[in-house]
Subunit: 163 residues, 2 copies
DNA sequence: CTTAACCTTGACGTGCACGTAACATTCCAT
DNA sequence: ATGGAATGTTACGTGCACGTCAAGGTTAAG
């Protein structure tokens, strides 16, 4: 019957497992609209396409979407910020790909330094947020202690009233 | 001439240095529009007013605005989320104010428990974000190590090429 | 009393991050 | 080859968090 979805059936050869947009949407929890929007905004590289035009995503794309989602929902970065971040990853991948080839050493060095600089900036931002969160947590825990103190106080009053 | 403010003072709250909206905006770095918007959305209690209708904010209000801003920009909470959070603070203040009065003990206990519950939820959310941030930082630092490795590699190549 | 600076309440506009059709096209199984 | 599900593009709509006038009223200073 109507099975879930017909993927590209390849009994042999490497199971590279390309995914259509619906599958990616389901796995990542975002909508298809969102995936197209991310592509439009440069957060996802234009994926390969089937002959008919259907998008074919890789597992790497799935990971990237999940990363975007974490950055967005948990940390409140804007998509513009996130674009900068994932583009740093692009640089990394690019360097990795051309690492063995004899390109200009100084050029690769420059890219590496830039990637490092960007990453250091990201770490700094994260450290800021970590500090703010720690601070906030400390305050909340102090409040919890206060609540507990008041609750114990109420208990005492109740006992006294009963006596 | 120095005007005498109308008596709006509640039990044992000493009024000090009331600020108009422009002053608050300048001190907190948000716009007047934003302050009115926060009030409209229930994030700020309607402040007292001058006879002519001008808003008069307290230092406490300033602190609250700064807190809202931290929650929003550093941690990416929505104003709806933040409203819930600051309302927990309201409860706390209210309890503090009526603590010595002989209200229903069970009522105060209920409110305390609710406040505690809300606070625990906030701590849980913060713990989530902390974990996500730590994880992300770890990954970034691994990438930094990788970059450094590659850079050292390039250095070696450069030395080898010179020899 | 006049005036500039400051404030008030609407009310419409904006950028972001999508949602939601509408309609055409493509894929797969029968 | 045909029906139906999945996908494509295009375009308008939406909620949030304000921005930005507009048309006044209020206050402090001169």
């Amino acid at each position: 019957m109507t099975h879930k979805k017909a993927a590209v059936a390849e009994p042999e050869s490497h199971a590279d497992a390309y995914l259509q947009i619906g599958e990616v949407a389901e796995r990542t929890g975002v909508t298809q609209r969102t995936l197209r929007y991310y592509e439009e905004k440069g957060l996802l590289k234009p994926p390969s396409r089937l002959d008919g035009g259907f998008r074919l995503y890789s597992e790497e794309d799935v990971l990237r979407v999940e990363k975007i989602k974490r950055l967005q929902t948990l940390l409140g970065f804007t998509l513009a910020d996130i674009k900068d971040m994932v583009q740093a990853d692009e640089v990394k991948s690019q360097i990795k790909a051309t690492y063995r080839k004899d390109a200009e050493v100084s050029e690769r060095r420059g890219k590496l330094l830039k990637a490092k600089e960007v990453t250091l900036g990201q770490v700094a931002v994260i450290d800021q947020k970590l500090a703010a969160l720690q601070d906030m947590k400390t305050h909340l825990e102090q409040k919890l202690d206060q609540y507990d103190g008041w609750l114990r106080n109420l208990e005492e009053q109740a006992v006294a009233a009963r006596a």
